[in-house]
């Protein structure tokens, strides 16, 4: 029974990794077409690094990911503190509002933001669909995830620690910087990492809120899949998978040290 479970589970793991493995292998395959192995090569990676367009898409993707993560981590952390620590009217309403970006299918999230940007642009002529609108859109779903992750950490925290700091004469600002923030820091980092990877991964919301000149890597891959996948896409995907694994391993190591 135990061995059967183990065999079954490793088959499931194989299922999880087979598609990724095929792409990684093909990214080093000399042949431009098909899946037959004709020799080892780095030429697709060279082509990738020489392509100025792909460099631009990468920089677009990173600009969006870094700026949206920065804003959503700050807003989400403050929001979590407020929701956990203070009683106020509309608190429950806010809590339900937080679940909306988590449970709404991303197509609906995408078109709703498209409608917002379109409505505003109709009346004041701004903003055009661009990296800026993509960043606004990403913050809007990231903020919910950051808040929920930080909130989980805050709820484990003893409020007496903060009260003790206040009793010792620290003002709110100092209490926040010297007591609350260091204690919830692992939650903030986890929330930021999650927000960052959600931004890197997002295709659907970006698809609806991007305009000319704001192509990100997922949009580029989508376009290539529609028009014809080339080995450069495999090389790009392999690098992205590598970056994912590296980030996760670093994240786990960071968490274990805490």
């Amino acid at each position: 029974m135990k061995r059967l479970l183990a065999a079954y589970s490793w088959l499931v793991f194989a299922f999880l990794y087979l598609p990724i493995a095929v792409i990684v292998v093909l990214s080093f395959n000399d042949s431009r077409f098909g899946v037959s192995w004709t020799g080892f090569t780095f030429k697709w990676y060279e082509a990738l690094f020489e392509s100025r367009r792909i460099g631009e898409y990468l920089s677009n993707t990173l600009v969006v990911a870094f700026s949206s993560t920065l804003v959503s981590t700050i807003l989400g952390t403050l929001l979590a503190i407020g929701i956990v620590r203070y009683e106020f009217r509309l608190r429950n309403f806010l809590r339900y509002l937080l679940y909306v970006p988590v449970v709404v299918p991303d197509v609906v999230m995408g078109i709703s933001l498209l409608l917002l940007f379109d409505t505003v642009r109709d009346s004041i002529g701004w903003p055009p669909l661009s990296l800026f609108t993509i960043i606004l859109a990403h913050i809007s779903f990231q903020i919910a995830y950051v808040t929920l992750v930080v909130r989980a950490r805050l709820m484990l925290l003893d409020p007496a620690l903060e009260e003790a700091a206040r009793d010792l004469g620290a003002n709110n600002w100092r209490t926040f910087w010297e007591v609350t923030l260091p204690l919830i820091w692992p939650g903030v980092v986890a929330g930021a990492l999650l927000a960052f990877s959600l931004s890197l991964d997002d295709f659907v919301v970006t698809f609806f809120t991007s305009g000319a000149g704001s192509t990100t890597l997922p949009l580029y891959i989508y376009g290539k899949v529609k028009t014809g996948i080339t080995p450069e896409v495999h090389a790009l995907s392999t690098l992205m998978v590598g970056a994912t694994i590296l980030t996760l391993v670093l994240g786990v190591l960071f968490w274990r040290r805490r």
Partner: protein
């Protein structure tokens, strides 16, 4: 918290902590949702954008044409079966991981595909399934004729199961981790067979995680348009594809907004059923 705080101090604290985030959620989540609702009551103008007259005509159109019923049915059907297959793969896996000596490492093996770019995971299936793809290369190596695996409904199912498997395993694993195995011992002491012991002592303890995982798989599987778009070859229209088409090539935003509202109502209905069975806390378990 601080009893001595004046109303002004309280207001200032709220303004600093909750204020910016709440403002953001209202502007970028609440208002857009209201806009979708309003747009669903409008009509398509001659240029393809939104225009009066107002009315329920988009909803009437949706519910009066069998084609759209078919699309909803197909989406729910796909969501249901894809989720069932995901459970079949993921349920035993969660137990295996939880009992393993290196469970942290195995868990990481589930998390890596979870964080791997969605589009990469979807297009990988094209490489596996297409006519000159990896699976056909294997089939023809045995002297068999190549199979037409892509584009197909099968491809859509495979990629959906594949994409959402980690979404199911992670909450399920959390539930399996918390299992009180003493109950199984007790069941055995009372003479239960292994099957009955599992069914009555262990399975009920995994139900909350199973429900959460089910929902986390079912909702996006019903709502996705990318998988059917890329692996169905444009022949399989799900409710997500319908929305995307209305906002894209069909240029009928009003109708697309109405379809979005219907999809949202379906999701809310699912969540409501979930909250009824799992209670308020269940929602927190989802994330």
């Amino acid at each position: 918290m601080n009893e001595a705080a004046t109303p002004w101090q309280k207001a200032r604290r709220l303004l600093v902590t909750v204020g910016p985030g709440a403002f953001w959620l209202v502007v970028f989540v609440l208002i857009p949702s209201v806009l979708v609702f309003l747009a669903s009551l409008l009509s398509r103008s001659s240029t393809g954008s939104l225009a009066p007259p107002w009315g329920l005509h988009n909803y009437v159109r949706f519910f009066s044409e069998p084609l759209f019923w078919e699309i909803v049915g197909r989406s729910l059907w796909l969501g249901w079966w894809a989720t069932v297959f995901t459970v079949l793969l993921g349920y035993p896996l969660a137990f295996y991981i939880a009992a393993h000596r290196y469970k942290q490492v195995l868990l990481l093996l589930v998390v890596i595909p979870f964080f791997t770019n969605f589009l990469i995971r979807v297009y990988a299936w094209i490489i596996l399934l297409q006519r000159e793809g990896a699976i056909n290369a294997l089939i023809t190596a045995f002297g068999l004729p190549p199979a037409d695996l892509f584009p197909s409904t099968l491809a859509v199912y495979l990629a959906t199961v594949y994409t959402y498997l980690p979404f199911l395993v992670l909450p399920l694993y959390a539930a399996v981790e918390r299992i009180d195995w003493n109950l199984l011992e007790a069941a055995y002491d009372l003479g239960a067979t292994p099957v009955r012991g599992f069914w009555e002592a262990i399975f009920p303890q995994t139900v909350p995680g199973l429900f959460a995982g089910f929902l986390l798989t079912f909702i996006p599987a019903v709502g996705t348009f990318v998988i059917a778009d890329l692996l169905g070859g444009g022949k399989i229209t799900l409710i997500g594809n319908l929305i995307q088409q209305q906002f894209g090539s069909a240029q009928n935003w009003a109708f697309g907004a109405a379809v979005s509202m219907i999809l949202m109502l379906m999701v809310l209905l699912g969540l409501w059923l979930y909250a009824r069975t799992q209670g308020e806390r269940g929602l927190d378990e989802l994330v």
